[in-house]
Every structure is written in C-alpha cells, then in structure tokens.
Amino acid sequence: MVKARDLLRPRPEGLCCPEGGFFIDPVRPVERALITHGHADHARAGHGSVLATRETLDIMALRYGPDFAGSVQEARLGETLTINGVRLTFHPAGHVLGSAQIALEAGGGRIVTSGDYKRTADPTCAPFAPIPCDVFITEATFGLPVFTHPDPAHEIGQLLTSLQQFPERTHIVGAYALGKAQRVIALLREAGYDQPIFIHGALAKLCDYYQNAGVGLGPLQPATVEGLREAPPPGAIVVAPPAAIDDRWSRRFSNPLSCFASGWMRIRQRVRQRGVELPLILSDHADWAELTQTIRDTGAEEVWVTHGREEALVRWCEINAIAARPLHLAGYEDEAE
C-alpha cells in the first residue's frame, strides 16, 4: 500500500508521481503533465498531455498557440479523477484566474501541492480553499517574516492619491502580464476609478480573455497604436509588463511616473534598484503570515517547502514542531511577480 508521502518526489523535471506516471508543473517536456496555473515557469509548452483547469488550458493556448500539447484534458475544481489508480482533485489556489492546488490521495492519506497561492481576496479569481492533508507542499516566494503584504485597497489608494497630486503625469504601472495586470485594473475599478485604462500590447489578449471569462475590467484602450503618435492623455493610467516601465517604450508618455505592483516592493532596496517612484505592494503570492496560517489550516504533519526562501519557513516549522524539508526544485523563477 502506497502512503501519501510517497506519491510525490522531486526530480529534475519537477515534482513526479511515479505511481500515476505524471509530473506536476514540469520544467521540461514530459509525457503527462498536471499544471497548476498559467505562469510561464509552471506552464510550459511541449508536453504529451496536459491536465489543468479550463482557464489554465485556455491561457496556455493563448500564449503558446493551440498546439501547445499533444492532448489536453480539463480538470474541474473539486471533481475527483483517477489516473493509474491515483485519485486526484484540483482545488482553487487564489493565485490567478484558473490557478489550482492539486490533492493526491492514496492509502487513506492525502498530499497537497499548493502551486502558487495567496489568501487575500482577489476580484479576478476564485479564493484559496485550505485542504486538510497529511503532507502539504507549499510555495515560499515570500517566505521571510519581513514580507507582510498590506491591504490591496490601501495600495490602490496610494496610486489614486498620486494621480491627484500629479495630474499631469502619466502613471505607468508595471505589472506581470498574467494575473497581476488584471488584478490591478479590477482593484482600480473596485476603488471607483472609471476612466479608460491604457494597456501595453502584451496584455491585450489576456485582458480580453479575463473580460470574456466574466472578470469586469471596465473600458480598456491600447496604450500605443501602430503608426499613431498620439499617446494617452496626461494623467492617464497605463499598465505594462515590468520590463517596459523604465525602457524606451515609456518615453512616449507625458512625464511618466513609474509604479510597480509587486510583493518585492516591500523592500526599499528593491524599490531603489528598480528605480521605481511609486511602489505598490501588491502580490499574488502568500505573505509570511498567510504561509504560516495556511500550514496550520491544512493540519499537515509534514511540510515540504519549494521555490522561494525555503530555509526560513522550514525553521518556522521546526519551532512549531512540524516536520519540514526544502525541496530544492530547480527552474522556478523567484523573481516572477
């Protein structure tokens, strides 16, 4: 009889389930992949078959084209499937649209891999649900006690205040193209901002997809149109991938004020390195308090810590008499936020 903790083990390709013959979020092409969410370091093209939520499959098709995998299968949240005798269920992770945790069961035990997750409410995706389990595999992107994400409404308030203080400056918000960008826009709408928001070309498809999936983003306009010199009016909000905010692309705007929406903005040195004028501490990952609370909520006896600052979370588990070990999986981007 296989125990829950033996269902998964780290391999160079990613987390492997030998019993079921599949990998979770493999970083190299494999025969059979289960994908937690659409971010590029978790969802890669070229697998034989992919099992993921409808939204994750759609996002992969948007990014890689319709032939991103040999075959695809949709996993419905909360519905239990069986692969080679291994029972598995996808549960919402609250990270981005379509993001999921994956629970595997065997011998009456359960092991849950969190994928990337957060606990803070997010208007663009279903909320995280803690799944009781024996082994919990948690991400640790912000796995240091210094990471405390403030209330998102407060951060959006900072942006709107700055817009009042500097109405002649175009506020360019750097935000990761999948998830963060749409969340920033949705939060602005929640805060009552009803002006058109201008978006970088790289966000267009994903924003359309979110809108079609029922996530209201309000009026959006392209920030730049091929062949047209006309830029958004002064005082507009432009949302763009982080790399664009301080590059030549941003020069066409009126006296741009660079903002960056990321959990890394909690650290002043990071803010200075990025040359950001207005940091918005807005993360799609759990902060320290959420990480530790989630470990408690799952009731897991054993915790495996992966991608991020593993050692601090392992230390916390030790102090709290929970068995823990770092997984040291390679290939996940610590910085991708």
Partner: protein, 536 residues
C-alpha cells in the same frame, strides 16, 4: 503618524525638486494641526529624542522574534531599522495607530529607563511603514533627501508667501507651529518674531547678461570680488550671538571660533572663509574640511580657522541700516570693522574700475583663486530681501573647460529612468603612444533633451560591459565620444584615482567631431591645478 510615514516613503523616491515640494505642500494642506507641525519639525531637524538608541531596538526585537528568523531577514533586507519595522509582531488593526503628535509627545517624555517600553508600545500599534518612520524619527536622521530649506520652500508655496518671510520668522517659532500655519492659511496674524538676534533675509543677485550692460552705467555701480566661500549672516544682539547660513539655518555650532567672537551689537552680511585674513585666504577645499561636521576638533580649528569677509551691515546698535543706500552702509561698515579683531573680520575690498572693459579684464584675471568673479552693487540701492532685479549683479569668471572621453553611463531616476543620463568621463594618462583613460569626474546635466536622447542611443549602441544600472562605453584612441566638460575649479583628492576632484562639472558641448585621441591629458588638469595653487 501613518500620513507622515507615507510622506517620507514618497519623498525618498521622488527625484524631482518640484515633485518633493508638491508632496510636502499637499501634506501641509491635508494633515491637521498639530500633526503637520510636528512633521515640519521632523523634516527641519527640530526634533531630538536622546533616550532612544538603535541598540535598544535590537534588544527589544530579540525578546519577540526567533534569532534565526531575524538573522535570515536582516541578511536579506540589509538595514536594521527596516528589518525591525517589517518583522516586528505588530498588533496594528487592533488598536488605533498613534498620531505623530502622540509619538512625539511620548518619545520626548520618555526617560532612558522607560524608553524601551514606550518605543515597544508605539511599534505595536503602527503599520510597518509607520514603524520605520518612528524608528528613523526616534534615532535621528530621516534621510529622505529633503533639506530644511526645501521644506520651507514648500511651506512658502503652501501659504503663497515668499520663502524669505518664513526664513525671517523661523527662529522665533517652535513646534508644532500652530500660529505659523494659521497665518499661512490666512486665519491668523503674521507671527511676531520674538527671537533675539533674528535672521534677516539675505539680498541676492542676478547673473548679468549681455543685454543688461546696455541699460546700466559703470558710474552707478561699485564692484567687489565675489568670494567662493559660504555666505553667512553674523548677528549679535542683547548678548545672543548667532551665525546663520544664507537660508537662515543656525550654523553657529559648526563654527565656534567665529560665532564666539561676535562681541558687538550688529548684524553683518559676509562670506565665511578659512585662513587668516591678514595673511592667507584658504581654498574652497580647505573650507570643505570645516563643512558638514558634527563636532569640530581642536586641530581643525587651528589648521582651518574661520573668518568673516564682510560685505554689508544690516543692523547696528538698535538701528536698521537696510533702508540706507549702499554707499552709506559701506561707510558705516568700514568704520565698524576697524574696531573688530583683525584675525576674524575684514572688509571685502572694492575693485576700482571706470569701464566695463576694465572690470572684465580684472574679472578674467582675479588676484586670488578663491575669487569666482565680481559683484556689481548699485550705489544708491537699499538692502532688499530676496533677488530683486537690478541693484545687484554677479559677473562670474568663465568656467574652465576640458575635453574628456565618455567612459561609463548610468541610468537616471524618475523622469530620466529610461535614459543613461549620468556620465563618468576621463582624460588620457601614461605614455603618448599607449595612453589609458583615467576617470576625472561625473556629470549629469548641461545637455538638452535632444542631446540626452543622442547620448543615450550612443551608450546603448556602444556598450562593452554592464554592471547593474551602469554601462561601460567603448572608449579607445579611435573610437569614443568626446565631451567638453565645464567646471568651476579643481582640488587635490585622495579619493579619486586621478588625484583630482572637479567642482561643479557639467557637460558644455558634445564633440561628435573630435576623435578621442585629441581629448585632453591629465597633465593639462595638473598644470591648471598648480597654476591656481601658485596664486595662493
């Protein structure tokens, strides 16, 4: 407190001066009394809490946080105050966070022994950003790139008054400045300056332009050398002695050798210099030895004694002299100075001239390296605060220039963050057939926006190595960008590889036409330095 913390966070990241002024003015306009007054005091260095020490914070934290987790965190963040502010197990949300005025009140009443408990209670109730601000405030040194002068400028903008008015009042006022804000908002009278020996706003000059010469006649003006020290006001009244900077900051403590010798009843305007006026006037780099020091050692006082070269007399034994014409003030000044100790005070000499050509010749060849040009003062003009156009002109010596080669470029900030806008340049050194470039300075202004775009493109197209925000630019004998750099002076420096430090360097011209091997050599700068030193 949270508003003040947010202000500090914004100020430190806002590079433009106008942006900072706007943030400050907005703070004064939207935060109520008395908090905004304490904020003003914090920014102008008017708060001091000697009972709180950084070591105390560490001890407090050790009682609350696992040492290993703290070590990981500190290692990652790299700054103690910030680590403490983030990792502190706060109870924010459960209690109303304290106002800035409560923080100030509690910290100032704390004794050495109860300071840790007071500080801990405050930190418990604040947000991470609020905690960071409280720690910075308590341990001294906000370091947000805002001078007291800039803060007063913002205050002036907020109240729609001249900054000189605020500077004039400043020393009679105390936190939380309720009366000052009432006046600035038009709700109260202008505060009476109750302070003894107050600062009087300084009279400043305009740079003279070609067109000005057509409308003025030499006979109406007197000329004096423009000395390159620091402009100060020395005031002694009713036994109170103060030395003020030109913006009204009290700098008596940094120059006790001068401020303790103000044994008179008057207000003098002059240039603070080092040396002995009877024998030798020190260079600007000598003077720099005395600047920005918390304490002045006896050796410093002996090597670089401060003295005042007097320009004007503003107040004398109960009489305001400022309404008198320049010539009369000058006469009174001359006889007044004759009675003062000659090792600490002398009179700024007049430069006789009858035509602009004659004065121009003297301006170009000043008798001393600490002279940076001439001042023209209209003989019948009163002493007016601020920068009135017409009575006073400065006619500066032309800057020095050197042709240098661009070596490194660094990304700018704010508006310029997409541009490589800070340039390190060098001149040639070593054998004539195989010279190498040695960096001699850094410049980040002097060019137009169009030129900035051109240089930025050049840097991107000619990058040979990248170090974070810095790019090394190809620069050899036949390939490189020559820039003409203008500067105000040179001094010897042990900190720079070239042994030379430039004063106020800026880019005066881009020499796209000039091949790099025709740029200047280090010997040119060394010769200039030696020539200037010979004048001493």
């Amino acid at each position: 407190m949270e508003r003040f913390a947010e202000l500090l966070d914004r100020l430190v990241l806002t590079p433009s001066r106008n942006g900072k002024i706007r943030l400050l003015a907005d703070y004064f306009a939207t935060v109520p009394d008395p908090d905004r007054g304490y904020g003003l005091a914090g920014l102008t260095g008017g708060l001091d809490f000697p009972a709180v020490k950084p070591a105390m914070l560490r001890a407090l934290l050790e009682e609350r946080v696992d040492a290993v987790l703290f070590a990981y965190s500190y290692d990652y963040v790299g700054d103690l105050a910030e680590t403490v502010s983030l990792i502190w197990p706060g109870k924010e949300g459960q209690a109303v966070p304290p106002d800035l005025s409560q923080v100030v009140e509690q910290l100032s009443m704390a004794s050495r022994s109860d300071a840790p408990a007071v500080m801990a209670r405050l930190l418990d109730r604040l947000s991470p950003s609020g905690r960071f601000a409280a720690i910075k405030l308590a341990t001294g040194g906000l370091r947000v790139g805002v001078s007291a002068r800039l803060t007063k400028q913002a205050l002036a903008e907020f109240g729609k008054v001249e900054v000189q008015e605020i500077e004039e009042l400043w020393h009679g006022l105390n936190p939380p400045y309720i009366g000052l804000f009432a006046w600035l908002e038009g709700r109260g009278p202008r505060p009476e300056s109750a302070a003894k020996a107050p600062f009087r706003p300084v009279m400043l000059s305009h740079a003279i332009t070609e067109t000005d010469f057509a409308s003025i006649t030499p006979a109406d003006y007197a000329a004096e050398w423009k000395w390159d020290g620091i402009r100060v006001q020395a005031v002694a009244e009713g036994g109170i002695c103060r030395l003020y900077s030109r913006t009204g900051d009290d700098i008596s403590g940094a120059f006790p050798d001068l401020s303790e010798r103000l044994d008179f009843d008057a207000a003098l305007d002059g240039e603070l210099l080092v040396g002995d006026p009877r024998e030798k006037t020190g260079t600007f780099s000598d003077l720099q030895q005395r600047l920005n020091r918390k304490t002045v050692s006896r050796a410093m006082l002996e090597r670089f004694p401060a003295f005042l070269r007097c320009y004007d007399l503003l107040f004398l034994e109960g009489r305001d002299m400022r309404t008198l014409p320049y010539t009369q003030r000058r006469e009174a000044l001359q006889s007044f100075i004759a009675e003062l100790p000659p090792d600490r005070f002398d009179l700024s000499p007049v430069v006789p001239f009858t035509s602009w050509e004659e004065l121009d010749g003297k301006r170009r060849n000043p008798p001393h390296p600490v002279i940076e040009g001439v001042m023209l003062k209209r003989k019948d003009s009163p002493y007016l605060p601020g920068r009135p156009k017409g009575p006073w002109f400065k006619w500066k010596r032309d800057p020095f220039t050197v042709d240098a080669v661009l070596m490194y470029a660094q990304r700018g900030h704010g508006k310029r963050s997409s541009f490589y806008s800070d340039y390190t340049f060098g001149v040639w050194e070593g054998p004539a057939d195989a010279p190498v470039l040695v960096p001699v300075g850094k410049a980040y202004f002097g060019f137009t926006d169009a030129e900035l775009r051109e240089i930025d493109k050049y840097v991107r197209d000619n990058t040979i190595e990248r170090f974070g925000p810095v790019r090394a630019v190809r620069a050899d004998l036949h390939h490189g960008l020559v820039i003409e750099v203008a500067f105000e002076g040179l001094s010897r420096s042990t900190r720079h590889k070239s042994g030379i430090a430039m004063r106020f360097p800026r880019i005066s011209r881009l020499r796209w036409d000039k091949p790099p091997h025709e740029a200047d050599r280090i010997e040119t700068l060394q010769a200039l330095l030696e020539e200037r030193e010979l004048l001493l």
